[in-house]
Symmetry: C3
Subunit: 116 residues, 3 copies
């Protein structure tokens, strides 16, 4: 059953769920879209960095600390984004999650530096 | 030669192709942009999951079935998105393509569970 | 201190930096957002292609040429996008950066062709 708050990005979806007037943007959906986009911008590079970093045979405890900081930082970032928590919760958790990525990137660069 | 239907996301592109009045959004371009974005949201994680899953030494036939379902699901999803096929073609093909990803994610988690 | 040119994608950020009237879009921010999005669309696939290609044991000099062309192409692409350089600088640099990706994709496909 259609709800007065429905919103669809595609006209064919709106037609199926109440009518073309629901083909529109919604502030909450746009917020989740921005959160998802920020996830893509950060989590995909992390997956690559983490995979290459793991090939460097790192100390497992140090590797876990890297991954755990990223995981918690992104978890808080998502909560802060979706719940619109008071600034600067979101930007601080974003910055904390960047730290293990920067650390892994430098360790990868150092380990290949001798080949350049 | 400029066409009356041209649309450009950047003013410098529009200036080169007919004038600033073509610096505008176009419903079809926005549709393809959403399809492309959905591809990024789904295909990039698949590439990572598929690579790690392949390191688990899976049965090649079962691995092929995983990859084939994803491939066909995403192919139908793109056709359904671009051609605005009747709902729920797009969402069903999206969901089918998620199944091998969820399966691979669980197999990866199970295989590393003993290390936690 | 708030600047009259500030713009924020989230109301809670605008509230912290001068008021809700700064919850708005900005043409330059939208431009950088498009540049960043184009990076995701191209650099993430390159990371995957480059990693799989490296597993094929390629000639190191040829591999370096692939990576270098991509790197320079994307560097020029970003400069052309952010500085709004005269067309077709951006689209030419985009196309040049695609060449090593297409080359790597074909080499990967050829190397696995015997398994299909």
């Amino acid at each position: 059953m259609p709800s007065p708050n429905d919103a669809f990005a595609n006209p064919e979806d709106a037609m199926r769920h109440g009518g073309l007037e629901f083909y529109r943007e919604d502030p909450d959906v746009e917020r989740y879209r921005r959160a998802h986009r920020n996830d893509m911008e950060n989590i995909f590079p992390f997956l690559f960095l983490g995979a290459i970093y793991s090939l460097l045979d790192p100390n497992p405890t140090i590797a876990r600390i890297h991954f755990l900081i990223f995981f918690i930082g992104r978890l808080v970032h998502t909560a802060a984004y979706v719940l619109a928590l008071k600034a600067p919760t979101r930007s601080v958790s974003y910055s904390i999650a960047q730290l293990p990525c920067i650390s892994m990137a430098f360790q990868i660069l150092f380990s290949v530096a001798s080949y350049w």
